[in-house]
């Protein structure tokens, strides 16, 4: 027990890094995903196709590869090459990758809304933007909560990939302690930390689903 208490401070520090990466990614990826979804269903073919390629690229290659490329590969690109510090580089990779997944979730959600809702709004004089904001998207939120919840929980665990950039998140810190002490106990403590984080998310999404359950469709 004393051993566990002894390793808590570094593990908590690692958890802070994990949580920072998690929240920053969510804050960027959700709105970006929504914009991409709207662009994907746009009438402008070029825009829609471009976003299609983007989604294909980011869903079709390993997140680890994207992470490595943005950190190690981007500086060597001619003209656009920039060297990002580790946190922004990782954040960029996560946000771009998760936005692609969120985009597909939102697109499916938007397209599942009945045409009659658009017509009902149109005959009341609402513009496309008003229709989306006031009528369609509020209904989309209810429908996409379960898949968004899934992605969000996956993201908590995916943040551990940043160990390849030598960032001291929860998992990398844990591994360092395991190797230092020849004791596998930290793995179990880390597992409990991850479980607590995902439990909190599960609970949050349950609350949200309950909130949206006030109406049926």
């Amino acid at each position: 027990m004393d051993y566990v208490i002894g390793i808590l401070p570094p593990l908590l520090e690692g958890t802070v890094v994990t949580l920072q990466m998690f929240f920053a990614t969510i804050v960027l990826a959700l709105p970006l995903g929504l914009l991409l979804a709207l662009a994907r269903i746009s009438r402008f073919k070029a825009l829609s196709s471009a976003v299609g390629v983007y989604i294909w690229l980011f869903r079709g290659t390993p997140l680890m590869l994207q992470l490595l490329f943005i950190y190690f590969g981007l500086p060597f690109l001619p003209y656009v090459g920039i060297r990002l510090p580790d946190f922004p580089a990782a954040l960029l990779a996560f946000a771009l990758n998760y936005a692609a997944y969120f985009a597909e979730i939102f697109r499916a959600g938007i397209q599942s809304i009945d045409r009659g809702q658009y017509e009902g709004a149109k005959v009341l004089g609402m513009s496309y933007v008003q229709t989306m904001r006031r009528i369609v998207l509020p209904q989309v939120i209810k429908r996409v909560l379960p898949p968004v919840s899934n992605e969000t929980i996956t993201l908590v665990k995916d943040t551990s990939l940043i160990y390849v950039l030598a960032m001291n998140d929860l998992l990398r810190t844990t591994r360092a302690i395991v190797q230092r002490d020849f004791n596998t106990m930290p793995f179990i403590v880390a597992a409990v930390f991850y479980l607590i984080m995902t439990l909190a998310l599960t609970w949050l999404f349950q609350k949200l689903e309950k909130k949206y359950a006030v109406y049926d469709e």
Binding site: G116, E119, K122, V123, G125, K142, Y215, D216
Partner: protein, 252 residues
């Protein structure tokens, strides 16, 4: 000035010609019933009037303002988006499938468009909305969600929602066709009330008794054309066209 003036409306879906040159003028306070078999184009025609469908040929004017005009070279030219929206807003519409917004309560359904589109103040529009709900007999339902209502109640909310925008014209697209027979009466009653207040109305309907009793003019459409139009007594009593006769014999 006509409330609606539609001239020579043509509409094709792919290769299928659904409207073959429909013309109709509607005066203030007129109640027009459009009847005819399924697939005759009557709903499509109604949907063309408020831009739910775009037309391929013809002109439409609403209260003297041009919604769509002949653009030359066999094309039509619609008014600019903002202007077209303003013109169409003068026509309320009630759908067969209600199209209420499920995430909003009955009251919110009614005040949504006045607030977002017209910029009405909430405190001004809520009493009006409550008054409209009383008028359609649903005052006690203002805080429930549409899923808790029967079909007839949903449709009456839809009527109140359309009226909240203070339209000059009301379009009804088979408003009772999705309802159980015992629920059509309450909706027709609300519509009859509107007609008595001299609302200009176009009603696409299968309710022949309602058309006969409430309409000033009945239009029989078949196969994308207006076959015959006239006073209810003429159309229902002594139709001159064989197609009208055949249709009425089948439905009445």
């Amino acid at each position: 000035m006509n409330m609606i003036k539609a001239v020579n409306i043509h509409k094709q879906f792919n290769q299928l010609e659904v409207l073959k040159g429909i013309s109709l003028t509607v005066d203030k306070g007129e109640v027009i019933a459009i009847i005819g078999p399924s697939g005759s184009g009557k709903s499509t025609f109604l949907r063309c009037l408020n831009r739910l469908e775009t037309i391929d040929k013809g002109t439409i004017e609403i209260e003297g303002d041009v919604l769509v005009a002949d653009g030359g070279q066999g094309k039509v030219s619609y008014a600019a988006e903002t202007e077209a929206r303003q013109i169409c807003r003068r026509m309320g519409m009630v759908f067969q499938q209600f199209n209420l917004f499920p995430h909003l309560t009955v009251l919110e359904n009614i005040i949504e468009a006045p607030i977002t589109v017209k910029g009405s103040k909430r405190e001004d529009i809520v009493p009006q909305a409550e008054e409209l709900l009383r008028k359609v007999g649903l005052a006690e339902k203002s805080d429930v969600y549409p899923s808790c209502l029967s079909g007839g109640q949903k449709q009456r909310v839809a009527i109140a929602r359309a009226l909240a925008m203070a339209p000059d014209i009301m379009l009804f697209d088979e408003p009772t066709s999705a309802l159980d027979p015992e629920l059509t009466g309450e909706v027709l009653k609300a519509m009859r009330k509107l007609a008595e207040e001299h609302m200009t109305m176009i009603v696409v309907t299968h309710e022949m008794a309602f058309a006969r009793e409430v309409a000033n003019r009945v239009i029989f459409m078949d196969n994308g054309e207006i076959v015959e139009e006239g006073l209810p007594n003429e159309i229902f009593g002594s139709p001159s066209q064989p197609r009208t006769k055949a249709f009425l014999q089948r439905v009445v």
